[in-house]
């Protein structure tokens, strides 16, 4: 813990709180956030710490239940995307030339695909369950990080001592295991943070364009209904619009703080950088 420094500890604490909220949200009964327990548009009061939405349902419950969905989605997507991008990007960087070409050109094709259409197709033919949303986001998001990681890997691979080792006949896989981790590691962190964040934002944006599932609880869904209800033009924005917005921001902030701390930990040389 101490090794992460003050920044990292702040991030960890923040993330722990949000994760705890998400876990609590998971443990809430099914009716949480969907039961009509107050007057529509009720301001905060007893039993409704954050007031009620347009149907009279607890906004706090929706925030908690949404935390589980949004955070879970973000983490899962980021994890898979980062792993996939590292493997594919790595293979493209140090693999044989035909493999590299194949991967790079497949990435090009993936990048060209109009993603809106993929979303509509997937929603129409596969449905909109949590797993499918994760899968689609992964399919759409892996190419950019893979390309970026390949570029980073190429730079790392051409460093002096690795070239010497290769010239001396060290197998590629061994070099990769021995040195690759700390060369690639710092690059993975922004990729992970970015992917987690984009997954959460994407989900909200799709709802906004009418392509999401506005009945499934998530922070993005709450923001969608905020917009439908014109909440920003009323005083309700304090308890309705701000909490999900802040929740997204704080989650990403926590991730980023941990990210930078781990970056320094993984790469001890950073400590000696003149600053």
């Amino acid at each position: 813990m101490r090794a992460l420094g003050r920044q990292g500890r702040t991030g960890l604490a923040l993330l722990a709180v949000i994760t705890a909220a998400a876990v609590y949200g998971l443990l809430l009964p099914d009716s949480a956030g969907t039961a009509r327990i107050g007057e529509p548009y009720a301001p905060p009061g007893p039993g409704l710490p954050l007031g009620a939405d347009d149907l009279g349902r607890s906004l706090l419950d929706q925030l908690l239940v949404g935390a589980a969905t949004s955070l879970g989605l973000g983490f899962l997507v980021a994890l898979v995307v980062t792993a996939l991008a590292a493997v594919i990007g790595g293979a493209a960087a140090i693999g044989p030339r035909w493999l590299s070409s194949l991967i790079m050109r497949s990435i090009d094709v993936m990048l060209i695909l109009p993603e809106l259409i993929l979303f509509i197709l997937a929603a129409a033919f596969l449905g909109q369950s949590f797993g499918i949303r994760v899968a689609i986001l992964v399919v759409l998001m892996w190419p950019v990080p893979a390309r970026v990681l390949r570029a980073g890997m190429l730079t790392a691979w051409s460093r002096g001592h690795l070239e010497v080792a290769r010239a001396m006949g060290a197998p590629r896989w061994w070099l990769l295991l021995r040195h690759g981790s700390y060369l690639i590691g710092p690059l993975l962190i922004p990729v992970f943070v970015r992917a987690a964040m984009r997954a959460i934002l994407y989900d909200a944006t799709l709802s906004f364009l009418g392509l999401g599932d506005p009945t499934a609880p998530s922070w993005g869904t709450t923001l969608y209904w905020v917009q439908v209800n014109g909440v920003f033009l009323s005083e309700a924005w304090v308890w309705w619009a701000l909490p999900p917005g802040l929740a997204i921001t704080l989650s990403v902030l926590a991730l980023a703080l941990i990210g930078t701390a781990v970056e320094e930990r993984l790469n001890p040389a950073l400590k000696e950088v003149p600053a």
Partner: protein
């Protein structure tokens, strides 16, 4: 030669997908030919006749052949929704998108990279941490959310800027701001990370040990390798955004390619969709090709 063949293959596959995906969407262009209530009165033969007359009812291979011929003769067909040539519709929208995207990219890139380098160099001081925090927070705002907020604040409350449309410089301010603010974080974080990696690399460390002055160290030894991967993402971002930002153009009712594309998708206007995707395809492929081709020029060591 090999490279040209490779990109040729990418373009062909992309063209095929651009042709097939729109047709895989649920529904079809029939809805452009009347309200559902009116269409429901048409007989099978009457529907078939319309589909045949406007082309989308002909056999797929025939349509694809037409599309391919069109791509090479620059005749992209006629939009099913308003009967205009597709090339004309795209020609009208493209300059608006390039104006919006070009302005945004230049500002985002210059600001993001400069601040990223600064953030890496000053990472131990308060300023660096503040930059990092601000960048992360800005980056975490959904673009549509920020756009709405800017409209409400600067359009409705302060009433100093137009809320929608295009034509004057004032119309550009809000959409460009939204694009810059939401795009800045990525460039910042990436540049910062890349810069830090380079600062810890052996050549730079050696130079430091040799007593090279700090300013020169950064300028001569760190900056160029650090900006290499950044160069890749800048080019890729240009490629994407040339297709227009659907969200931003929708929010600000901006008459660019993104809105044209979104409209074409909603209308199931096959020829217009194909045309819009073609522009996107060509831009992305061109930018990727440039990135690949220029990479070895910038980093001599990557020439294997």
């Amino acid at each position: 030669m090999r490279r040209i063949l490779e990109y040729g293959a990418v373009v062909v596959i992309a063209l095929l997908l651009n042709f097939l995906l729109p047709r895989a969407l649920p529904g079809g262009p029939m809805k452009l030919f009347g309200s559902p209530e009116a269409l429901s009165r048409l007989t099978e033969a009457e529907r078939a006749q319309i589909a045949q007359q406007y082309g989308f009812g002909r056999p797929l291979p025939e349509q694809f052949a037409d599309y391919l011929t069109g791509v090479f003769t620059l005749d992209l067909g006629t939009s099913l929704s308003d009967g205009r040539p597709v090339a004309e519709a795209i020609g009208e929208a493209l300059p608006w998108t390039l104006l919006l995207v070009g302005t945004s990219i230049v500002i985002t890139c210059v600001l993001g990279v400069a601040l990223g380098v600064l953030g890496a160099l000053r990472r131990r001081r308060g300023g660096g941490a503040g930059l990092l925090g601000t960048a992360i927070v800005l980056d975490s705002l959904p673009a549509f959310w920020l756009g709405m907020l800017l409209i409400v604040v600067f359009g409705v409350q302060l009433n100093v800027l137009p809320t929608y449309g295009a034509g004057t410089l004032a119309h550009l301010v809000l959409p460009v701001t939204t694009l810059v603010v939401t795009g800045l974080g990525y460039f910042f974080l990436y540049t910062r990370s890349s810069m830090l990696t380079v600062l810890t690399s052996e050549p730079v460390q050696h130079a430091h040990a040799r007593g090279v002055p700090y300013g020169r160290l950064v300028r001569r030894h760190a900056l160029r390798p650090a900006l290499l991967p950044v160069h890749t993402i800048v080019l890729m971002e240009i490629g994407f955004l040339a297709g227009g930002s659907i969200v931003i153009e929708t929010v600000f009712a901006y008459p660019g390619l993104g809105r044209l594309t979104f409209g074409a998708i909603s209308a199931r206007d096959y020829p217009l969709m194909q045309g819009a995707f073609l522009v996107l395809t060509l831009m992305v492929v061109a930018m990727n090709a440039i990135a690949d081709a220029t990479y070895p020029l910038l980093d001599p060591r990557a020439r294997q």
